[in-house]
Symmetry: C2
Subunit: 220 residues, 2 copies
């Protein structure tokens, strides 16, 4: 297909496709003549992948390059790729702040207390530390029991994620691992906000029922 | 305390404190003389709240203003406040894209199928729709069973969140509801990434064990 069709089918403007080509994120097409090249389905899927990384994850071009190179590394297990890719993903949260060492350490202590196995140098531990510190700062500290509920729920989700990794095809498995780590995050957050709404409705219904009973029976 | 101490204790630079005062996000202090005012613990906690909204949620000044006015509205239930505040929070995900109508609709169909009660006009439904569409685009579609696991885990978490709302103090309850909705999100994402890492370790250990058995027994 021509670049115009590639652009239309991927939803990426022609100028941006050309930019990705210049940056080497996209392989050149087959040259037809001095002014035109032809592109295949491989280009389309690569372009959709880049679009996902940029638009959903907010990845920078250099992060995209890094993640693509992880996906394309031969002879690695999807697990290795996943670990490397998670470190390359944009940090959780929109803050530009980096976590202070004592915040990371506090998160590490918490994880130890809860019996987690983790890499203390992982950026995720630092991000957890920042989030905990900020919750403290604004007066809504998260206690151990509360975070245990988060941890157990997260584990069930992670098990369901792993059950869907297409292990038989290493490149597909790696792509799934890298993209799924991050692309499913907004899904999880949306489901939690929706659950808040539902539970809110239930509590309101309960409150109304209690009020109704009050007026008829005078019960507390 | 003077503005310098307020700045030091809140971690917000003096110039930013002055900006919040000009913008009316922070009440003026008690005037001591033409050049100095005195601030109290209420100013400090308000400033920490604003800092949390800006730094963790990436809220704009106009979003901060809106959320503060929701928190300060008298005679409302924390549930009402929470619903209003969730709509004012920055959207999930870092994409500037708004969801197409058909994406929202697809999310609404999914939620109906799964038996959720929801507000079809909620921005969360639209954001869920965008996230699902993007996962499709990059070839990692989320099936109904998979999203059911997310939904059930999210519900357990939301129940634990609600169990901690300080209902007896309406302003504290509202603050908790508004901030907790968003401040705990990075915690949840971090816990999921950590769970991926742990499960990855377990799978690698299993794989090594199978390989070891192979060399000694020749079993597949």
């Amino acid at each position: 297909m021509r670049i115009s069709e590639l652009s239309e089918r991927s939803g990426v403007p022609v100028a941006t496709v050309k930019y990705y080509l210049r940056e080497g994120l996209l392989e050149p097409g087959e040259v037809l003549n001095a002014r035109e090249s032809s592109y295949g389905e491989g280009h389309l899927s690569q372009l959709r992948l880049i679009r996902g990384l940029v638009h959903v994850l907010g990845a920078s071009i250099s992060q995209v390059r890094q993640i693509l190179s992880i996906i394309d590394t031969p002879d690695q297990s999807p697990l290795e790729a996943m670990g490397k890719a998670t470190s390359s993903l944009p940090a959780i949260g929109e803050s530009g702040d980096s976590a202070a060492a004592d915040e990371s350490q506090r998160a590490a202590h918490l994880l130890e207390r809860l019996g987690y196995r983790f890499d203390p140098a992982s950026p995720t531990v630092a991000q957890l530390g920042s989030a905990l510190a900020l919750a403290d700062d604004v007066g809504i500290r998260i206690d151990d029991d509360h975070i245990t509920v988060y941890g157990e729920a997260a584990r069930r989700i992670a098990q369901a994620d792993f059950a869907r990794v297409p292990w038989a095809d290493p490149r597909a498995a790696t792509t799934f691992a890298v993209l799924g780590t991050a692309l499913y995050e907004p899904v999880l957050l949306a489901m939690r906000r929706l659950a808040h709404y539902e539970i809110g409705l239930e509590l309101e219904a309960d409150a109304t029922e209690i009020t109704d009973n009050d007026t008829t029976t005078g019960a507390p």
